[in-house]
């Protein structure tokens, strides 16, 4: 029966998704097969009815292309003025995102989702503007044609033979709350086109007319209908999942897509995405880095990263595997991830190469076992990719010259050897030269191979000094020699390339590792940021700064030296945007590329904590996606480290808070009991005096007045202790040490407790040769008072107290001893705790602060205080005051 109930985890995830969607604005897409089907019209009509229903509707951007029937819908709706952008002498009108965010309507209309913004706008694409509006909880209506959908882009281009450059990620359509298909039969559309009701830009007239052929329109209509249907299908499934409608559940499929640096890779990814969407399967896109990858030109390597980026945008998980055997790596990964289908592009290589070097496809098919392998046609991608022709690497003339030189040297050596060795041995010399030349790269090494054969023939094979060969046996020698030379050089270059690739990877890993290790060892936030800035600056050869958000949400530069670049308000604006959106922006990126620095968010588990600003050396940009990826990794490490520091801080704060809390409650109980008791006596006695004045005899009046005075004294001591403790705790006590005779301090302490002592005997034993002691007289007097007070409180009235002192081990040790009940076992250390009161305390008042204060003061003097049972009964308190230096000499005039 459990299958009838929705999985709670999945349901929870759905609820979260739902909540996130509710907090975000809702997107409604008016989706059509082509321009002219009436999307804008439909959108405006829907907006009007919303407006009439009382919704706050604003037109952010609408292009009516001057069509009267569309324009007729505009009046009555608020319209945001366009933003004017100067670009190369012309003024472009653009949607004003900031105005829209400031206006904050409930619903905004933004036409043409696939539009590319004018340079200098915040985002490169309008769909990014829309995403920001949605994030700001504004509902958006927009329009979109099927050809602009990322995953269908290539299909449309193939069907219509007209490339579309402006694309929108599929995720936008998938996350849309509603998609309304605006449909018009092709014949009607063609009629509207003829009637001039469809807007056709003048400059692209011919291409667009080619686009609007009936065959194309039918195909586009089908694509649009299918896309919408697939969405409905998906919604149906979500509904089923939510409501636990039993039905046919597709077997969980997982698709693995292999991509190569080939230009077809993007096509393969798009095709795989359609398959994954159709199957509602998870999909993973992998690239296998083989040693040869490192040999590839930068453009090819970029293409791999771009393809992986595209895959991520289309919703795939991506991974990069490393190894020699592509098929083996892919299959191992596929098995590990329980992949059911592998998709890869059809190789476009000539047959002979396949025969010679083998084919990954064949290899995979042979070894795949129970995994299905799908091969997608490797047709050449649209013209936009042809445009990015690989630039020819610069020819290494020096390498070729060195190769030729190597062969010449071999020839020289061979000439010297000729009288003593058979010609066959000379071949070995040439092979040696070829191996040496292999270090110069592929081209030079092949040149060296060919030249070696030629030189050997020319100089040493009879007839000498001609290329003619008298003995046909030498032809075999030449052939073998050439093959051996080429194989050797190929193998050598490959090994070198491999080494180079691993060296590069090693360097990246090492850089990252070095930073991570450095970050872990940093304790303070500032040191950590300094370290991060230093590492990023070193690895990327750039100038770097770190900004952190303060509690008010302002960005504050905490490390690095980009004051000049980043003080600009517009730069700060970019940084702020990055902080708010947690996305990379600035120089060289898709968002706000006009900025002077590249801003990378420092995002960790609890959101974006700050910004890493990077300014590459002037003129350059951190162009390759590989570099940007690496930079993002560095930023992630930094963010994690910052978060770690913040967590440590918080833990400390929390500990401190709980400690404070505990103290506060002890204090409250102490105050409520210990302050109230004397107050009660004072109030009672005073009221007795006031009210019963006539009836009281003189003796009673005195007694009452005495009670008031005694209790007031007690209250005073208590308040003094509380204040003293507070000052000690808050570090407000300064120890003003000076040289004092201990005797004087003991004397003033005794004078202060004179009244409490009453008739009690105090024995004082201070040796006459006791040196001057460096101490703060007021504080040490307080220690003595508190110890005496304690003895008075806990011992019978007639019990004597003894004060003695002696010099021990560079310190003066002072003892206060009584003959009272002593301590309960284990109490010796507890009694110095704040608010601790002895078990014998009973109803005695006192907040339990006296001994804690004494300890605080003694420790502030660099001494120690301990309590121990006194031999023969009673308590013994002993504290030390260090004799740091020689006491000052005092010459007396005793003679």
């Amino acid at each position: 029966m459990e299958h009838d109930r929705p999985d709670p985890d999945a349901l929870l995830a759905r609820v979260r998704e739902e909540q996130a969607r509710q907090q975000r604005g809702k997107l409604k897409v008016f989706f059509g097969a082509a321009a002219g089907v009436g999307k804008t019209y439909a959108m405006l009509e829907a907006a009007r009815s919303q407006h009439e229903a009382g919704v706050d509707v604003v037109i952010g951007w609408v292009d009516t292309h001057g069509r009267a029937e569309t324009e007729a819908l505009l009046p009555g709706l608020e319209q945001l003025p366009p933003r004017m952008v100067e670009y190369r002498g012309t003024t472009l009108r653009e949607f004003d995102l900031d105005a829209a965010l400031a206006r904050r309507p409930a619903l905004i209309l933004v036409d043409e989702l696939a539009h590319t913004n004018a340079p200098g706008s915040r985002h490169a694409k309008r769909w990014q503007d829309v995403a920001e509006l949605l994030d700001a909880a504004i509902d958006v209506y927009t329009t979109l044609n099927v050809q602009h959908l990322e995953s269908l882009n290539d299909v449309v281009a193939r069907v219509t033979e007209v490339p579309t450059r402006e694309t929108v990620p599929d995720s936008i359509l998938e996350e849309a709350a509603e998609v309304e298909l605006v449909d018009l039969p092709p014949d009607d559309l063609i009629r509207r086109l003829r009637e001039g009701k469809v807007y056709v830009p003048e400059q692209a007239g011919e291409a667009v007319r080619r686009f609007f052929r009936k065959g194309n329109l039918i195909a586009l209509r089908e694509l649009a209908l299918r896309t919408t249907a697939a969405r409905v299908d998906a919604q149906m499934e979500v509904y089923r999942r939510d409501h636990a409608v039993p039905g046919i559940w597709p077997v969980a499929e997982r698709i693995l897509v292999c991509v190569s640096p080939s230009p077809f890779a993007a096509r393969v990814v798009r095709g795989a995405r359609r398959m994954a969407a159709g199957l509602r399967a998870e999909w993973v896109v992998v690239n296998v880095e083989i040693p040869a990858t490192a040999r590839l030109p930068a453009a090819d390597r970029d293409r791999i990263v771009q393809t992986l980026r595209l895959a991520e945008q289309l919703g795939a998980e991506t991974a990069t595997l490393t190894g020699h055997d592509v098929a083996g790596e892919v299959l191992a990964y596929a098995r590990r991830r329980n992949v059911t289908r592998i998709v890869l592009g059809k190789p476009a290589r000539p047959r002979w190469r396949e025969a010679l070097f083998g084919s990954v496809v064949n290899d995979l098919v042979r070894r795949s076992g129970d995994i299905d392998v799908y091969v997608i046609t490797g047709e050449r991608e649209g013209p936009q990719l042809a445009a990015t022709a690989r630039p020819a690497p610069p020819v290494d003339w020096a390498g070729y010259a060195k190769a030729a030189g190597a062969v010449a040297a071999c020839t020289g050596v061979s000439a010297l050897m000729l009288p003593h060795f058979a010609p066959a041995n000379l071949i070995m010399v040439y092979l040696l030269g070829t191996v040496a030349a292999a270090r110069l790269g592929r081209g030079p090494s092949i040149l060296a191979s060919v030249l070696s054969v030629a030189a050997f023939d020319f100089f040493f094979v009879p007839p000498i000094f001609t290329f003619a060969v008298s003995d046909t046996q030498y032809v075999v020698t030449f052939a073998v020699m050439l093959v051996v030379a080429i194989v050797i050089s190929t193998l050598t270059t490959r090994v070198r390339a491999q080494a180079e690739a691993s060296r590069q990877r090693e360097r990246r890993t090492a850089a990252l590792y070095a930073m991570t290790r450095d970050l872990v060892s940093q304790q303070g936030l500032d040191e950590l940021l300094q370290a991060a800035t230093r590492h990023v600056a070193e690895v990327f050869g750039s100038r770097v700064a770190v900004f952190l958000a303060d509690p008010d949400g302002n960005l504050v530069r905490r490390a690095g030296d980009l004051a000049a670049e980043t003080n600009d308000p517009s730069e700060l604006g970019v940084a702020r945007w990055v902080l708010e959106h947690g996305q990379l922006a600035g120089r060289g990126s898709a968002t706000l590329p006009g900025a002077r620095a590249l801003y990378v968010p420092l995002s960790a588990a609890r959101g974006t904590v700050g910004i890493l600003a990077v300014v590459p050396p002037s003129g350059e940009s951190l162009g390759t996606p590989e570099q940007v990826h690496l930079l993002e990794t560095f930023a992630a490490q930094t963010a994690l480290a910052i978060e770690r520091v913040a967590l440590v801080d918080e833990a400390q704060q929390a500990r401190f808070r709980s400690e404070t809390e505990r103290l506060r409650s002890s204090l409250l109980s102490a105050v409520s009991h210990d302050l109230r008791t004397p107050l009660a006596t004072i109030t009672g006695s005073a009221s007795a005096l006031v009210e019963g004045d006539a009836a009281l005899d003189e003796a009673t009046r005195r007694e009452l007045a005495q009670a008031i005075q005694d209790e007031a004294d007690r209250l005073n001591r208590l308040v003094h202790n509380l204040l003293e403790m507070t000052r000690l705790e808050s570090g407000g006590i300064r120890v003003h040490k000076d040289w004092h005779p201990l005797e004087e301090v003991v004397g003033s302490a005794l004078a202060r407790v004179e009244k409490q002592l009453g008739q009690r005997r105090v024995d004082i034993d201070l040796p006459p040769d006791l040196p001057l002691v460096p101490l703060d007289p007021l504080l040490v007097e307080q220690v003595l008072i508190n110890l005496l007070d304690n003895a008075i409180k806990y011992t019978p009235e007639t019990s004597p107290i003894e004060i003695s002192a002696s010099v021990e081990d560079h310190a003066v040790s002072v003892r206060v001893a009584d003959r009272g009940p002593g301590f309960a076992p284990g109490e010796e250390t507890q009694i110095f705790e704040k608010f601790y009161r002895g078990q014998e305390a009973g109803t005695r008042t006192g907040a339990g602060l006296g001994l804690a204060i004494a300890r605080g003061i003694v420790e502030a003097h660099g001494g120690r205080i301990i309590a121990e049972p006194r031999p023969g009964g009673g308590a013994l308190f002993r504290f030390t005051l260090p004799l740091a230096a020689e006491p000052p000499e005092v010459r007396t005039d005793d003679g």
Partner: protein, 245 residues
């Protein structure tokens, strides 16, 4: 603001109505409330001020013989009041200050105040200080007595000799100068600085450990239990006082 009465309500008028005028400058009404009857009952005529400015005004118009001044006034710093009084008069000033604010007391005494009482205080203590202050004020105008005696101690200032009971005590010159200074100000507190300046001279005012060592020596010679002195009392953090009763 300044309420002036001579004699409290219901207070027996057995005391002379022309006793010394005491100016109490204190902003706390509860303190004034118990000071007035306590002082009046001892024959003082009380003039009250709630602020420093008014106190200074009353001091000129009423010509009091003693000022009791709270250091924590709302308008003026107590030290400022002392300085402005000292510009034109030598009338004794007794300062009321909070316990723990020893440096304030020292500053007030060094600025010219005659004595201090730390809050909270017993009335008896204040009255004793007032008596001492008034006596010294009178002494200042008359030729001083040449002998001084308290308990067992007897000092002949003219002949520079000291007795404890029947036996004469031998003091070193500095010890004697220290004792003599205390005797001249008997009953009054003297700050470390004041004592150092009088006994050792202006160059030595920072050498307070000298003072402590000599004070300890003096106590050994004059006190029965130097750790519990009866005569030469320490005022912690402030200075010393030779008790007179």
């Amino acid at each position: 603001m300044a309420e002036t009465r001579t004699g409290g309500e219901g207070e027996p008028t057995r005391l002379p109505a022309n006793g010394p005028v005491v100016l109490v400058i204190e902003d706390e009404a509860p303190i004034r409330r118990f000071l007035r009857p306590s002082l009046t009952s001892q024959g003082y005529r009380v003039v009250e001020s709630e602020t420093g400015e008014d106190g200074l005004l009353q001091a000129t118009s009423r010509q009091p013989e003693l000022v009791i001044l709270d250091l924590g006034l709302p308008d003026l710093d107590g030290l400022e009041v002392i300085r402005r009084l000292r510009e034109w008069t030598r009338i004794p000033i007794i300062v009321l200050s909070a316990r723990g604010a020893e440096s304030d007391k020292v500053a007030a005494l060094d600025a010219g105040a005659d004595d201090y009482v730390a809050k909270p205080f017993a009335v008896g203590e204040l009255l004793a200080r007032a008596r001492v202050a008034l006596r010294h004020a009178t002494l200042g105008r008359e030729p001083g007595e040449s002998t001084f005696a308290v308990a067992e101690l007897r000092v002949d200032l003219a002949r520079r000799r000291v007795w404890l009971g029947e036996s004469e005590v031998r003091l070193t010159p500095i010890e004697y100068r220290l004792l003599a200074t205390l005797v001249r100000h008997a009953g009054k507190v003297l700050t470390h600085r004041q004592l150092l300046q009088e006994v050792w001279g202006p160059a030595q005012v920072e050498q307070s450990h000298y003072l402590r060592v000599y004070m300890a020596n003096l106590r050994r010679k004059l006190e029965t239990d130097p750790a519990r002195p009866r005569l030469l009392r320490t005022e912690p953090g402030v200075g010393y006082r030779l008790l007179t009763d």
